[in-house]
Every structure is written in structure tokens, then in C-alpha cells.
Amino acid sequence: MNDEPVDVLIIGAGASGAAIAWSLADTRMRIVCLEQGEVMNPLNYPSTRRDGEARNQNDFSISPNQRKSAADYPIAEDDSPIKVANFNGVGGGTVLYAGHFPRFHPSDFKVKSLDGVADDWPIDYSDLATHYAENDRMMGVAGLNGDPAYPSDNAERMPPLPLGKSGEALAKGFNKLGWHWWPSDTAIATQPYDGRDKCINLGACITGCAQGAKASTDITYWPHALRAGVELRTQCRVREITVDDAGMATGAAYVDPDGVEQFQAAHVVVMACNGVGTPRILLNSKSDAFPDGLANSSGLVGKNLMFHPYASIQGIFEEELDGYKGPHKIFRSQEFYETDPDRDFVRGYTFEIQRGQGPVQTALTGLQRDKIPWGAGHHAAYRKLFNRIAGMVAVCEDLPEEHNRVTLDPVLKDSDGIPAPKISYTLSENSRKMMDHAIVKASEVLRAAGAVDILTQAPISYGGWHLMGTARMGTDPARSVVNEWGRSHDVKNLFVVDGSVFVTSAGVNPTRTIQALALYVAEQMKQRLANLFD
């Protein structure tokens, strides 16, 4: 037991927890972060070994249900066509993300006003602009200024990732059709940056970057936060957030690395456990004052789960492309991003254009899609695919619906006996139409680029990388969980800074916005320190 309260207790050391820990450290408050996973050792990442490709389906799988490490909690997801992808460790999901790092558009904060669906955010792009820039400095962003799909941000970017043979072939296809494309903003160092070395094209971004070029928060924010005095406790799994009779959070009950129950008292608690982990802990934090879970007077904790349904569209080319060499992402297209009344869906999507696959994944793709037979024809068929696949995924905006939700599974528990989350999710008609549109358009551009065959999958089942909306932000306590600066409406010393607070999902990867939001919340807290709980 530790009854001596810390000033700020952060739960989760991933994208948002790292950012807010670093930002609050300059207040000289005593800050402790509890993380259920461990500090990562890049020398153990799959790209350092010959069996690396096999490990992305085992100990470095994106699915916690496949990975089953000591840090993971199981997720009941039979009632969802999209399965959760996450990582539990210092750095969180940034350890395994691809580093595709777009900002939201101004229109993404005004969905209701512009398109009459979902809700507007209580903040807008201009509220986050300086925090996007601050986060960019901490993470390091490669790209190119001048994208006509975004307002000018004058950000300092490192040179973009190489186009390579794959990017060149696909760019020609986009140009033939006169469609937008632009080198992706990526959280990957293309030159030495803040003590990290530059990308050497390992082709292994999504299983951890052994080179340290990809900006995962264990090697970006955390070294700075630790030097500034933040205490990080790993292998500590939070069971619940406790409250006093006045309905204020008092700290967290957690299980330490030895399996011993502990308690850490705190004046302020910050949830940073992603869109599934945060509602799980809040729903597990039941008390007389909060019988339906903490901060849940609206009944919206866990509801409005958004994923980003992904469609995968890959072309098979006759000429050899980059294959397994190089970062996965090359450029993006937002030709179909904004709502077009001539289409049969609202909102839109981003195409993330990507390179090919390693030798094992090429074989698996061929076997699963009946492009490679068992037996004598194996080798000839394999060589028609190896180093000849390139294409894209469509990141489709997912609109909030209350029936898509995280609850607690009545039976499933983690290794510490804590009830596990259950996902209930159905694809909306709007999402289906958006993915259908993306498949048609991507096939068109791949053919224009010279693809001789096309492989599609929609949705990508193990594609629930983006976990959003389950503790949404808003000004109305009856329609939101936290206010416009991240504080719980119900519990005035409880904050949420991860993707749970998203009101809508936009059609882009959320990490850059999650981190900008965490820095924005930190700034709001610092401005209000004298009357934070009023």
C-alpha cells in the first residue's frame, strides 16, 4: 500500500500517456505512470533474427489474443468482424504501428455542421494546431510541405521516405487518372533525429523498429519524461480506479510484477489506455457512488466504439518492385476524403499506399488467395508474386453508433482475474458502401499503374488498430463522458487522454491527433492548476 499520494497518476505508457507525462513534468509535480507491459528491447525485435516473419504471427502479433504475452489481457471479440490490434508495453501501440502519421483535417471536427451526421467536436483544428507542432518536434516527422489536401502547417519535416520502385509505379497510375497523392507524413526518421538513427529500410515497421528510426514513444517521449523526473512502473496492471465518498478519484488498485495487490494514491488520475483499455478499467471501477462504472452517469462509457474499417487492395505486377525492402508506407491519396453528394455514402477515406511483402507473407498470401497451389506448381506461381505485390489500404471513416461498444465479458478474465473487455460491433451500411467504393477506385488506379491481377479484402479482419470514441468528449454531461479539455464530467480529478475521447474518427490514422490532444489536455491542466477541480 502506498497511501502517500502522488500528484498525477497516469495509467498507460503508450502514445498519449507518454505525451502527457512529458508535458506535465515541467510543473515539477510528482508524476507516476503505471504500465502493464515491459520496457522494450529493440535487439529482440523480429527483424534482428532469421525467423522474424514467423514472429509477427506469434510473440509480435498485433492481436493480443494470438500474442498472449504476460502483459496482454484477452479480448472477447466473437461479436465483431474487426478484431482488436494493440500492443501492451512501454510505447504501447506505437511499438507496432507503421508510423503513418497524418493530421486530421479542419472538416473532421465539424461533421455534424458539414454533413449532418454524428456530432461536432467541442474543439476544432485551430485548438490543436500548436500541439500538433509540439508533438511533431517530439516524435520527428518525415514528409513534404505543400500537400493541397491540407491547410499549410509550415511544419519542419525531414525528407520523405523514398518512393522506390513501388511508389514510382503507383504514382504513375495516380497521375494517369489525375488523382491526388502526396508523400505520407510518417513518424520515421529519414535523417538522424533526437538521438535516433535514420531509417535503413528494414521493412519491419509493424513488428518494432530495431534501428530506432520509427518514433515509438519508448524512444521519443519517455527518455525525456524520465530525465524530467517522471516515475515509470512497468508490469503493473490496474484493477480499478478508487473513489472517496465525495466522488473524487483517490488512486488506483493494481497488481505489481510479483502478483501482489498494491494501491497508489493520487490527487489526479489520467487514463491513457486506448479506446478499449480505458473503458474496461472505468467499467471495472464500480462503487456505491458509481454503480455502472466510473465516470459513467451518461451511460456512454464503452459506447460509440469506432475502429476505421480497412479495405485492402493489392496489385500483382509483372515487373519486380521493392518487395520486402523499405518502410511499408510510401504515400497517401485523399482524392476521396471529403464528402461528395454524388456518392452513396457520407464522409470519406484515405488511401495509404504501401510496398510489398516478405518471402513468407508472400507465400501465405498466395496460398490463402489460391494464387499458389500445393505441389508441383508452387515455385512458378510463387515467383509471379514475390517482389511483385504493391497496393494500398483504404482507411475509412467510421461514424459513432452507440450499439458498437466495449462491455465487460461475464466470464473471460485476464491472468490477474480482472474481467476482460468484450467487443460488440457491426459494420454500418455507410462503411460498407465506402469500402466498396474504395475497392473499385483502388482497382482502377492499380490497373492504370500496370497491375495484372488484384487481390482485395474488406474489412481486414485483424485490422482494429484504431480504438476510438468510448469516452467521448463534449460539453453536455448527458451526451459525453469528458468535457472539452478531457476532464470527466462526473469525477473532477479524472482525465482521459487516449482515443476514447474522439467524437468522430476522421478517415486517417489517429495517433498524431491522440498525442496532440494529450498535449492540449496537459496545457489546459497547467493553465488551471489553481482551480483544476472547480
Binding site: 527483424s47 534482428t48 533474427r49 532469421r50 525467423d51 516473419e53 514467423a54 504471427q57 483535417h105 479542419p106 472538416s107 455542421s113 458539414l114 476544432d124 513534404l144 505543400g146 493541397p148 489536401a149 491540407y150 491547410p151 523514398p162 518512393l163 522506390g164 520502385k165 514510382e168 504514382a171 504513375k172 497521375n175 489525375g178 491526388h180 497523392w181 502526396w182 508523400p183 535503413i200 529500410n201 528494414l202 521493412g203 519491419a204 530495431a210 534501428q211 521493392d322 520486402y324 525492402k325 523499405g326 485523399q334 482524392e335 476524403y337 471529403e338 464528402t339 518471402p359 513468407v360 507465400a363 501465405l364 496460398l367 490463402q368 500445393w374 505441389g375 508452387h378 515455385h379 514475390f386
Partner: protein, 156 residues
């Protein structure tokens, strides 16, 4: 009788060896061994160990299909030059998840073999620490996009 390293019976080992060689046979044309090659198969056997139960169940399913079709187990039919390919096809139809498990392990081990990597013109090493070279490509391709008007919606 069990093999000491894997806990598979000899019959199970023979069945698995026959199947993996059938999935990826040796090829003189491409200068590559089959997946039943001694070094590759040893890798397959050690890789299957953590999934012993699932692999054993998959092999039982394969043998059940073989016995229903040809009256003998899969290894015996294959060794005798029998209709192993059709049996394997029926196995894939009737037990797709079991077939996928065995095929996945096979390709995971096959495509990290030195000889196979060399035949694919790959360097025989992990990606780190040397990395790879990727050409910058032709950035003038971006010129038409640079000249496009703004395509985002303004909100004010």
C-alpha cells in the same frame, strides 16, 4: 514410439514429412530443395513443438481423410506413389483451418532456409543491422499534384 524432441510419434513425423514435401516439392528447375529436406524439416519439427496438440489433431484429420479415400495412412499412400495430391486437396476442403496451420508452418520454415533465400536472390541474413537500399524514385512525378488547387473543405 515418440521422437525425443517433439513428442510426435514416428507415424506422425512420417505423415508430416510426406505432407510438407507435397506442399513444396524440390525443384531442379529452380534449384531449390523441397520442404521435406532434412534441414528444413528439422526446423519445421521444432517449430511445431509449441503447437503440438493442434498439429497432431491436424495430422489425425489428414490420416482420416487418407484412410477413407485410400484405405491407408497418408504417408504410406504417398510413399507408394499413390493419390496423395487428391487426398491433400480433400483434406484442405474438409479441414481448412488444419490445412492452413500446417501450410503456414511449412512456408515459415521453408522461406528462411539459406538455399531457398539464395535461389530468390536474397541475402542470407536478417534485415537488421545492415538494412536494405531503396531508390528515391522520380520525384518529378509529384509536379502535377503540386499544381492542383486545394482540395480540403474550409470550415470558416
Amino acid at each position: 514410439m515418440n521422437t525425443t524432441e517433439t513428442n510426435f510419434t514416428d507415424a506422425q513425423v512420417q505423415c508430416l514429412a510426406a505432407l510438407v514435401e507435397m506442399i513444396i516439392p524440390a525443384s531442379e528447375d529452380y534449384g531449390v530443395p523441397g520442404a521435406g529436406d532434412g534441414i528444413i524439416f528439422a526446423d519445421i519439427l521444432s517449430t511445431t513443438a509449441p503447437q503440438h496438440e493442434a498439429v497432431a489433431a491436424a495430422l489425425s484429420a489428414l490420416n482420416a481423410v487418407a484412410e477413407a479415400t485410400g484405405g491407408q495412412n497418408f504417408a504410406t499412400i504417398s510413399a507408394a506413389g499413390g493419390d496423395g495430391e487428391n487426398i491433400a486437396a480433400s483434406f484442405r476442403d474438409q479441414h481448412p483451418k488444419a490445412a492452413e496451420l500446417l501450410a503456414t508452418i511449412t512456408v515459415q520454415c521453408y522461406y528462411r532456409d539459406d538455399r531457398v533465400m539464395r535461389a530468390l536472390n536474397m541475402e542470407v541474413r536478417p534485415p537488421f543491422p545492415d538494412g536494405f537500399t531503396v531508390d528515391q524514385g522520380d520525384w518529378t512525378l509529384l509536379d502535377p499534384v503540386r499544381n492542383r488547387p486545394e482540395l480540403y473543405r474550409k470550415t470558416e
